[in-house]
């Protein structure tokens, strides 16, 4: 039976399968924009493998964490950047 984890994205709880990356949680929360670019464009993951840095989010107060490379943990607080 697959284990599920609950964490919060932008203040809302989401439930994901254990072993999912934070990128999955952000997507499950219905967000398409993970961050905003220098000129204000919404951006989401591009490479899926930690190279492009477009999926950076704030996790438990630490900014600029690549969501595609970070495993979800129960109770994590994720926020997408302004």
């Amino acid at each position: 039976m697959p284990e599920r984890i609950t964490l919060s994205v932008n203040g809302c709880d989401v439930s994901v399968l254990a072993g999912s990356m934070v990128s999955a949680a952000v997507s499950a929360a219905g967000e398409t924009a993970f961050r905003t670019s220098v000129q204000g464009e919404p951006r989401g993951p591009l490479c899926g493998m930690g190279i492009c840095f477009e999926c950076r989010v704030c996790i438990d107060g630490v900014r600029h964490v690549r969501a595609c490379q970070r495993l979800c943990q129960p109770g994590m607080e994720v926020s997408t950047h302004d």
Binding site: S23, A28, T32, F34, R43, G48, F53, H64, Q69
Partner: protein, 429 residues
């Protein structure tokens, strides 16, 4: 705060090549360490296979790995090379000094992204990129995905996405029909590949495979909603929730360059024994040239055995399948090389450097990577030119700069240590 680890054989990259090397070196009794940026082993092609095996080769190797003794350092990036025989790693908590007798570079490859209008919209991802994201937990069930770009990876991705529940109406392959058909016919010389191709064809029944076809624009408000494709003078719109678009693979040569390894045509130069031009440093898999799973496994074994000190005899047995595999890799490159029209894709206002939002028209005034970096800050962001560098190389023919540490962003408090380098570099042997 420094941790220190010492290994007989240190392997960078836990994809198939790195894992094969780890098995062989460890089984030969050496103390082995494997480092990977991802939280789990498998690299790209075996992402997720470690606990949910679906591919026969992965199943076999992971089983073999379970009985192998080695130290795995996941979520860890190499950021510097402070001394001979030492790499500096960052695991987001601390810096770790990794000391080695032999080093095996299995850093793999990344996708090449080409800019076109709308490519920065959320939902426009790499082809391998979307596969990785779905394997990491993003749900694709019932979503409509257009797969585009170039290379056999597109078919593997489309197949995977379908199995994950996506609707994939078509694959847009930029290569011309004649070359792709010739390549398909040539598969007869590679029986294993032929089987794989036939299987893919079956899995992709109902998915249009359009050669001479490429995206010219992605459109949508907050995320991609449709893509305009072009094919033989005709263009049309396809609606989509995701555009999974990648134009081939580019070896991750940053660490090899930092070590002083000779680079040839964008990949690490190695001899038949997988030795680079730097003493005690081997390279295996995609970083030595794009070739796929088979060469990666063979090369990994060769280097693992060699690094462990196994005699040449063990290697001779492995050479034949590898030569065959490399020939296949060459055919691949010829078939899917990128066409000139793709250089016309960006509009003036199309962003090329996504980290710093540098537009195409800002770059066209410059004649070198260096000049462009200076004036536009292209390549000066956190990706350190990994995305825009491949694009500008294709668009303008600009070569890369030399590589300097840190290879990845590090915490300010760790930065000075990451910049320590050796005074001189040995390129003999």
């Amino acid at each position: 705060m420094t941790d220190r680890r010492e290994f007989d054989v240190l392997i960078i990259g836990a994809g198939p090549a790195g894992l094969a090397a780890a098995c062989c070196a460890a089984e030969a009794g050496r103390r082995v360490g494997v480092v990977d940026d991802n939280p789990a082993a498998g690299g790209q092609i075996w992402r997720g296979e470690h606990d949910k095996p679906t591919q026969p080769a992965a199943t076999t190797w992971f089983e073999r790995l379970r009985n192998t003794k080695f130290e795995f350092l996941p979520g860890t990036r190499i950021v510097g090379h402070p001394a001979e025989g030492v790499l500096l790693a960052d695991d987001d908590r601390t810096l770790i000094e990794l000391k080695y007798d032999k080093l095996i570079l299995a850093t793999g490859a990344r996708e090449r992204f080409l800019p076109f209008p709308g490519w920065t919209l959320p939902g426009v991802t790499g082809a391998g990129g979307l596969q990785a994201l779905v394997k990491s937990g993003i749900s694709i069930a019932g979503r409509r995905v257009v797969v585009a770009g170039s290379g056999p990876l597109l078919m593997a991705v489309a197949s995977y996405l379908r199995r994950a529940g996506a609707v994939v109406p078509l694959i847009a392959e930029q290569a011309p029909r004649g070359r792709v058909a010739k390549f398909a016919a040539g598969l007869l010389a590679h029986p294993g590949k032929l089987m794989e191709a036939a299987r893919l064809k079956w899995e992709l029944r109902g998915v249009k495979y359009l050669t001479d076809c490429w995206p010219v624009a992605a459109e949508g408000n907050d995320a991609v909603e449709n893509v305009t494709l072009q094919r033989r003078g005709r263009s049309w719109q396809e609606s989509c929730d995701f555009l999974a678009c990648g134009f081939g693979l580019v070896p991750n040569i940053e660490l090899p360059m930092l070590l002083g390894c000779e680079i040839e045509q964008g990949s690490v130069r190695v001899d038949d024994g997988q030795r680079t031009t730097v003493k005690d440093v081997y390279a295996v898999g995609e970083v030595t040239g794009i070739g796929g799973l088979a060469p990666a496994l063979i090369e990994g074994q060769i280097a693992g055995l060699a690094a462990a000190g196994e005699k040449e005899a063990a290697l001779r047995f492995l050479l034949f399948p590898r030569r065959n595999a490399r020939r296949f890799a060459q055919k691949l490159e010829h078939t899917f090389r990128l066409r000139d029209e793709l250089r016309q894709l960006p509009a003036d206002e199309t962003i090329v450097c996504r980290c710093e939002d540098v537009r195409f028209d800002q770059l066209t005034e410059h004649y070198s990577w260096r000049s462009a970096k200076l004036h536009t800050r292209c390549g000066m962001g956190p990706c350190q030119g990994r995305v825009c560098g491949a694009a500008t190389e294709f668009l303008f023919g600009w070569g890369m700069d030399s590589v300097r540490p840190p290879l990845y962003p590090v915490r300010v408090e760790h930065l000075a240590r990451a910049t320590v380098t050796r005074e001189s570099q040995s390129t003999e042997d």
